[in-house]
């Protein structure tokens, strides 16, 4: 075992000498982003054209990995934190300001954070099958007051999933102190609480769940990739909850200039143009032609709800406890 490790160490030491001399920019990203089906590889190729560097996109569970590695992390840049966990990430003190001009952003909310740079966004929504749900809810109130057997919903666990956390904060933004009552009404309609978006969405596509907590942009995938227009996202009159994916550069990066250039690249036309069908969300700097017409035509949220990162962090633990209690009955 130890010999194998030593051998691995030698191989590693030899590796940079064998490769060309280009610097390597290491980018941590969630697996759905870094993998074959996400925009990670195209993003790397796009940036490599201009940076004179190699980009290594590493698919990991970003927040726990950064917390575990601390200032020894080999990452130069991370992508994928939502606003709801930004505060937790910021508190590590590991990240440097992005130095980007935020006036270019075309988000439905005002973004002021100087460290985390949003590069795409969407809103939480319950996605349903139009052929099965004849009376889709038009508001949260509709959803809560529907008979318990009207539809069964798959949601995500706020303790293990960022979409689950967004749902928690959505309910909190709409109902505030009345959130426990809202959860009590919602709980009987919840088919199950899945650990993550993938499992919940699978239950929906298999027909087990009539609705799933996903995003306003989810139907775009089915319409464009599968030529299937039976899936729709319910737009609620109280508003849908804003969800942005952000990127940040590490203070301890060995390539600060490259990292900065990478932040610039994230808002460039090249990358912003690939976000729509690459990550099935809206670009943070929208320009004409970035989205296919079918995507452009999706119904948009009437009102966007959004909690500041500080407020989200303060609400998180008590809101999880409220949620947990509602499901104990």
């Amino acid at each position: 075992m130890r010999k194998t490790l030593m051998l691995a160490g030698f191989l590693l030491a030899a590796a940079p000498a064998l490769a060309d001399e280009k610097p390597v920019l290491t980018v941590y990203a969630p697996e759905y982003f870094a993998g074959e089906w996400g925009p990670g590889q195209k993003m790397a190729e796009g940036f490599e054209k201009t940076c004179g560097c190699d980009v290594k996109v590493v698919g990991v569970d970003v927040l726990p990995r950064i917390l575990l590695e601390g200032d020894k992390t080999p990452a130069d840049v991370v992508v994928g934190f939502t606003a709801d966990v930004m505060q937790r990430a910021k508190d590590t003190g590991l990240f440097a300001p992005h130095r980007e001009d935020l006036s270019r952003l075309t988000l439905p909310v005002a973004w002021t954070d100087d460290t985390f740079l949003p590069f795409d966004w969407s809103e939480t929504a319950f996605v349903y099958d139009k052929t099965k749900v004849k009376n889709p809810p038009k508001s949260f109130a509709d959803l809560l007051n529907a008979p318990d057997d009207a539809y069964k919903i798959a949601i995500e666990d706020p303790r293990t999933s960022l979409s689950g956390l967004a749902l928690l904060l959505w309910v909190k933004s709409v109902y505030g102190d009345k959130a426990p009552e809202a959860w009590a009404k919602l709980a009987p309609k919840v088919l199950t609480v899945a650990p993550g978006w993938s499992e919940a969405y699978s239950l929906f596509t298999k027909g087990e769940a009539d609705m799933v907590l996903s995003f306003t942009t989810s139907p775009a995938y089915h319409i464009i990739e599968e030529k299937d227009d039976t899936k729709a996202a319910a737009i609620f009159t109280e508003g849908n909850y804003f969800l942005a994916e952000t990127a940040a550069q590490l203070k301890g990066t060995k390539h600060p200039e490259l990292a900065q250039k990478f932040m610039d690249y994230l808002l460039s036309d090249d990358f912003q143009g690939m976000i729509g069908v690459g990550n099935w969300s809206y670009p943070a700097v929208m320009k004409p032609g970035f989205l296919p017409p079918e995507f452009e035509a999706l119904p948009k949220a009437e009102k966007t709800l959004f909690l500041t990162p500080e407020a989200a962090e303060a609400l998180r633990a008590p809101a999880i406890e409220e949620w947990r209690q509602a499901f104990r009955k």
Binding site: M1, T4, L5, G9, L11, L12, E31, Y32, A34, G35, E36, W37, G38, G40, K56, V57, V58, G59, V60, D61, L63, P64, L67, L68, E69, K72, P74, V85, R88, K152, D157, R159, T160, L165, A187, L191, T192, V193, A194, P195, G196, W197, S198, E199, Y201, S202, L203, T205, K206, G207, E208, A209, S218, Y221, E225, W280, W323, R324, F327, R328
Partner: protein
């Protein structure tokens, strides 16, 4: 160890190997656990939610184990009594749910028992109300589905291990079923059942994916899930370590209890002739056995068939990356199977309680905490991505070890009890003993153990996710990646591939073992 004591004992095959293997396994498990605790700077007191998780974990594990064992006894008895075409294939296939990757198994169960599953469709067609699977009972149903095969196999082995001389004696004494039960079957069950119960209890103790999806909500939180939650948002190692230690404690207590109630082998040595069974005749008994076998086969095999057929149409569309991931998974499975079998054989033939205990340790530890501990220990030495595959190989081998050991132990003990004196008098030692006694005599459980190890390794989605940078991908990871990006159909196709390979390996290795035993 001093000279005279060696004289007094029957020597084992490789006296030092058992100790070294035990030490390596214990270190591989305990060092990562220690590393997590140390990095956390201590343990964190559990919250009320954690205590609820502990209670739910114990409760569901005990109920799942009890139900599985209760159903397995009649099934194993019927299978032992009856011979029918396809019996061998059925026994082998029945092991399948136990080795199904959980990511696939949950889907299979939902296709049958889900809200829109076969059972509810049938009930609906008959105008009957539907049955819900989500909740604590869903978790138990799933655990019984997974573990009933394990219990049936362990108990069936017990039945087959009753020496045929005893059966002949019983026949010549004119024993009816009641006497056979009292004098032969009950002592055998006393010996086999605690082990089966314990094995299932322990499997369910660390249950994760099943409880996540079928549990219905936070009430069905297991310890392993609580550990995942502790990591996911906060990387709260203190809480994770405290929960992991609670798991270890529960496992050790369960192991102790099982050791206390397990009876020693009661039959003595036979001449090892096969094929002697007491077959109760009469239409009623035959019909009863046939019904039991049919029910169990339907319960276990129909969900399996749905996975195999569900995604088959997608297979031609699978991208090259899936086939690459398949090759990686196969290579890792091959390595970890060899390692598991070598470790299990060494520990099982050491003839020492502590060797057994060390072999059971991997079961006690949360694979998430274990993986994180390894990550903490190894990170300063090499980049995690470089270690992803070797570490996964070792981790998979360790995670399969308790099962392999459980399968080998009863027969290794019987082998020692029956042949130690003969081997000693012949001066059969080390390699010769391994070659001419141990391997041939243990071929059947070894094949089964290898099949289990290979299948577990194929389906594992644990440690690799902590080390991989996304480029070294196993098949379950590839499936998960497709599920995470709207490609649910392709994921179903890859799940069919995974299931077919897993079953092929399990069935093939088990068959090799049984073939060698028959020779």
């Amino acid at each position: 160890m001093s000279g005279p004591r060696i004289e007094a004992r029957i020597p084992v095959a490789f006296p030092l190997a058992g100790g070294s293997a035990a030490l390596i396994v214990a270190a591989l498990i305990l060092v990562p656990l220690g590393a997590v605790t140390m990095t956390a700077g201590g343990l964190r007191a559990p919250s009320p939610a954690d205590l609820e998780a502990l209670w739910f974990t114990l409760w569901q594990a005990a109920v799942s184990a009890a139900v599985s064992c209760a159903l397995a006894v009649p099934a194993a008895r019927a299978l032992n009594r009856r011979r029918f075409p396809g019996r061998t294939a059925l026994v082998a296939l029945m092991g399948a749910p136990f080795v199904l990757p959980s990511i696939v198994a949950v889907t299979a169960l939902l296709t049958v028992f889900g809200r829109k599953g076969l059972v509810n469709e049938a009930l609906g067609a008959l105008g009957l109300p539907s049955v819900g699977i989500y909740g604590a009972h869903g978790v138990i149903l799933a655990h019984v589905f997974f573990n009933l095969p394990l219990a049936v196999r362990m108990i069936l082995h017990g039945w087959q291990a009753i020496p045929s001389e005893r059966m002949r004696l019983a026949a010549s004494l004119g024993f009816g079923p009641a006497e056979v039960a009292r004098h032969l079957e009950r002592p055998m069950l006393r010996q086999v059942l605690p082990g089966a119960f314990l094995a299932i209890f322990l499997v369910c103790l660390t249950s994760f994916a099943v409880a996540l999806i079928l549990g219905g909500g936070p009430r069905a939180t297991t310890l392993e899930l609580a550990i995942f939650q502790a990591f996911r948002y906060d990387a709260d190692l203190g809480r994770a370590a405290a929960l992991a230690l609670a798991q270890v404690a529960v496992t050790l207590i369960a192991l102790g209890l099982a050791a206390a109630v397990t009876a020693p082998p009661a039959f003595g040595a036979g001449l090892d002739r096969a094929g002697e069974r007491l077959i109760p005749t009469g239409r009623l008994r035959t019909a009863k056995d046939a019904t039991v076998i049919a029910l169990i086969a339907v319960f276990l095999l129909v969900p399996l068939a749905t996975v195999l057929t569900g995604g088959a149409g997608q297979i031609p569309r699978l991208p090259a990356s899936v086939w690459h991931a398949t090759a990686v998974s196969l290579a890792v499975a091959a390595g970890s199977t060899v390692l598991t079998v070598a470790l299990a054989l060494t520990l099982a033939t050491a003839g020492r309680k502590w060797a057994e205990a060390a072999g059971m340790l991997p079961m006690a530890v949360s694979s998430l905490v274990f993986g994180t501990g390894l990550f903490i220990v190894l990170r300063p030495l090499a980049p995690p991505a470089m270690l992803a595959l070797p570490v996964t190989l070792i981790a998979n081998a360790l995670m399969s070890l308790p099962f392999a050991l459980r399968v080998l132990l009863p027969e290794a003990k019987r082998l020692a009890a029956d042949y130690d004196r003969l081997a000693a008098s012949l001066g059969l030692r080390s390699w010769a003993r391994l070659r001419f006694l141990t391997l041939p005599r243990l071929a059947r459980p070894l094949g089964f153990a290898a099949g289990l190890a290979a299948a577990f390794s194929m389906g594992d989605l644990g440690v690799i996710t902590l080390f991989s940078d996304g480029h070294q991908q196993t098949l379950p990871m590839a499936i998960y990646a497709m599920m995470g990006s709207y490609h649910q159909n392709l994921a179903a196709g890859a799940a069919t591939v995974l299931t077919a390979i897993t079953l092929g390996l399990f069935y093939g290795l088990d068959r090799i073992g049984r073939r060698s035993d028959d020779m």
